[in-house]
């Protein structure tokens, strides 16, 4: 899917501004933007060493899942400006596709997971082909309806989805390498699997937003007509990013349901979407790491706020409203604005 992003692009950035040169590998990995990834990866790696209780490992598992889901949604909404309510549908589609493949075929699990992402991307390409050209509102509502439709199909298409009850008893992902048998059948072992995937996914997504295609994505969000007037096939970009995010989201969904060992139509519940929205809005739409960290916060927060779901949703709703009113750019946007002001002061200082 990323290939499509490069239809229009040379493989490297050619900003007018010259950049510090570095080794080709370092540059390919992300160059100067690699910075935040490394400490984050280190923190992720540290968790199993300090957390002894399985339950908290499971909370950490959820945090990693939210990190990828939130970041993928951030890519769409924060960077390209597409308010897609279909993300939760892609979680479900990836989950169902991989579950079906594992329970009905002899496909190797990692391949089935990737296929789950692939199916999600494929569906996204079809949905996107119709919707990316529509107005913001129509896009939001149609992606929302698509999610609702997915829930109905999941409940109805009993032969494939197991109906209301879903597909259950999913086997733990395993990998046999000669004498070594790796099985992710406990929260702890699953954590390693998820952690590896999360770091990889974060790296890929951050690589995308820092690339020249990423600049075009921001351009589309900030002013789509201008991007068109500058010769960019904005709909193709939107379609490609939509599909790419669906792939990442679908793959995350696959890993999520195999951790739960079951999938049923409740995967399409609006709750997950609400969580993704809050993560992105309060983290700061269009800022990469603040959103990733806010995902961790909103996975851990329910543990700190010991309250019923209703009360928690009231708190979330209030946070959403207050955030939009008083911190419209989120924490990330606030920090960025502060950094920018400092930079501007320096610039002005330099001029005088």
């Amino acid at each position: 899917m990323t290939a499509a992003l490069h239809v229009h692009e040379p493989e490297e950035t050619n900003d007018v501004m010259s950049r510090k040169s570095s080794s080709p590998l370092h540059k390919w990995l992300g160059g100067r933007h690699l910075g935040p990834l490394l400490p984050t990866a280190a923190a992720i790696a540290l968790v199993p060493a300090v957390v002894t209780n399985d339950y908290f490992i499971d909370v950490a598992n959820l945090a990693l899942t939210f990190m990828v889901l939130g970041t993928a949604f951030n890519l769409l909404y924060g960077y390209v400006g597409m308010l897609s309510f279909a993300q939760v549908a892609f979680v479900g589609i990836g989950g169902y596709a991989s579950s079906w493949l594992v329970t009905h075929t002899d496909l190797w699990q990692p391949v089935a997971f990737l296929a789950g992402g692939g199916v999600a991307a494929l569906v996204a390409a079809v949905v996107g082909a119709v919707t990316v050209r529509l107005s913001e509102g129509a896009f939001a509502i149609i992606t929302l309806s698509f999610t609702l439709l997915c829930a109905v199909v999941a409940a109805e298409w009993t032969g494939v989805t197991g109906g209301r009850q879903g597909i259950f008893g999913l086997p733990a992902p395993s990998l046999s390498l000669g004498p070594v048998d790796l099985v992710a059948d406990t929260p702890r072992s699953y954590y390693y699997l998820l952690a590896g995937f999360t770091v990889l996914a974060l790296w890929a997504m951050q690589r995308l937003v820092r690339s020249s295609a990423g600049t075009v994505m921001i351009a589309i969000r900030d002013n789509e007509p201008l991007a068109k007037a500058q010769g960019y096939a904005t709909n193709n970009y939107k379609l490609a990013v939509f599909s790419f995010c669906a792939f990442v989201t679908g793959l995350t969904g696959a890993l999520h349901v195999f951790r739960l060992t079951t999938i049923d139509p409740s995967i399409f519940d609006f709750y997950l979407m609400q969580v993704m929205l809050i993560i992105v809005i309060l983290g700061g739409a269009g800022t990469f790491w603040p959103v990733a960290y806010s995902a961790v916060l909103f996975a851990v927060l329910p543990e700190m706020l010991r309250m019923a779901d209703e009360a928690r949703l009231i708190v979330y709703g209030a946070l959403l409203v207050l955030g939009l009113l008083f911190l419209p750019q989120g924490v990330g946007g606030f920090l960025r604005a502060r950094a920018m002001n400092r930079q501007l002061r320096d610039m002005r200082g330099g001029r005088s």
């Binding site: 957390v51 109906g163 009850q165 059948d185 349901v257 079951t262 995967i267 603040p290």
Partner: protein, 386 residues
């Protein structure tokens, strides 16, 4: 930029570490015995989960009043919300077992969550007592099916459906039945079981409609029943929808008896008393009208605490605790594995007068009841062993 990121990463690590430090130390030989409950306490099924929790709490209070178990060790309840979805469900059960160190888990009301909880019970070797989930797959996987730690005390829908269709067949005046079920595991498995049982008895099913939970308009279905020769409507819907359907049927003058899994109590009963629903019946594993001393005591205590008669979920929650208490006493230990061994040998008299004994698939066979409305009152027509 870099320092900020480092700070954030450190905060992230600290948050998780902070969580980890609050782990309790296990203690299985003295102090209170903790019973875990995973049930929906929020979302559309919250009302049912609340009923179950009330039943569980009542049982625990009664046991504690009578001096507790294993020589005056008190029972405590650890309840976790599972919101009726597997994500929260797995979290709730993992938390009960690994953090709150429960001796056994009761749950998880919604079949989908129960199916997700079963592997956890097996992995951590903690008994899971299923009290209200209806999916037949739970029993298939339990006991001989491979999951030794799962036990179910509520009857399967298939047996209830067979009992109901036998009754309808014998009663003789209903030969065409429409099924209206909610779009949930409960509704779908119930509807499928009843459809099969009715067909076996030669009763025609004129149609099966699955409505989304929270559906408020049933006018289309009501028109259909009025016009396609349906003689009775079997309901597998719950909560607000149940009442909603009955009211709309009443005001649209739908002259049909209802059957299926109808709660013939409370607001429903007010509507069903009317002549237009004459001959309505229901099959239920429980009724507050059951005339056993144990049940009378339970119903009275429940009603004084909650101002309403106990529901099916309250009964099952209460029973689950009682079955567990019985097993703990016989095991002479609050160790989960010992409780599991004792549970297998359960022979316990239920509130209904039936017997709770687990078969090879860890399925108990308590009594169920055919209920009917006569002269504006619910009466028990017959009971069956499921």
């Amino acid at each position: 930029m870099r320092t900020r990121t480092l700070a954030a990463a450190a905060a992230l690590a600290l948050t998780v570490v902070g969580c980890a430090s609050s782990t309790d130390s296990p203690d299985t030989n003295s102090g209170p015995i903790t019973i875990g409950l995973s049930a929906p306490l929020s979302g559309p099924a919250a009302a049912l989960g609340e009923n179950e929790r009330n039943g569980v709490q009542l049982a625990i209070d009664q046991i504690n009043q009578d001096g507790g178990l294993l020589g005056s060790r008190k029972l405590t309840l650890a309840a976790q919300d599972n919101a009726c979805n597997p994500t929260d469900g797995v979290g709730s059960v993992t938390k009960l077992i690994t953090q709150q160190q429960v001796s056994a888990v009761i749950g998880a009301l919604c079949s989908g969550v129960t199916l997700a909880a079963m592997p956890l019970a097996k992995r951590y070797q903690v008994p899971l007592v299923v009290a209200t989930s209806t999916s037949p797959d739970i029993t298939t996987a339990a006991g001989k099916g491979g999951n030794d730690f799962t036990f179910r005390i509520n009857p399967s829908d298939a047996t209830l459906a067979v009992a109901l269709s036998s009754y309808l067949h014998k009663a003789g005046d209903v030969r065409k039945v429409a099924i209206l079920a909610e779009d949930s595991t409960y509704g779908r498995t119930g509807a499928a079981a009843l459809q099969k049982a009715l067909n076996d008895k030669g009763i025609t099913v004129t149609g099966v409609d699955f409505v989304a939970q929270g559906t408020s308009d049933f006018s289309t279905q009501i028109s259909k029943y009025r016009n396609n020769g349906t003689q009775s409507v079997a309901l597998y819907i719950s909560g607000a929808d149940h009442l909603s359907f009955l009211r709309q049927a009443a005001s649209a003058r739908l002259q049909l008896p209802v059957t299926g899994r109808v709660e013939l109590e409370g607001q429903n009963l007010e509507i069903l008393k009317d002549e237009q629903f004459a001959g309505s019946s229901s099959v239920y594993p429980y009724s507050s009208l059951i005339k056993t001393p144990a049940n009378a005591k339970f119903a009275k205590a429940y009603e004084s605490a909650h101002k309403t008669p106990p529901t099916y979920e309250s009964f099952e929650g209460y029973s689950a605790v009682m079955v567990l208490a019985d097993a703990i006493s016989r095991a002479k230990s609050s160790d989960p594995k010992a409780i599991q061994k004792a549970l297998v040998k359960t022979d316990f008299t239920s509130l209904t007068g039936g017997t709770v004994k687990f078969d090879a698939y860890h399925q108990a066979h308590d009594k169920a009841f055919i209920l009917q409305i006569k002269n504006g009152k619910t009466v028990i027509v017959s009971d069956v062993v499921t």
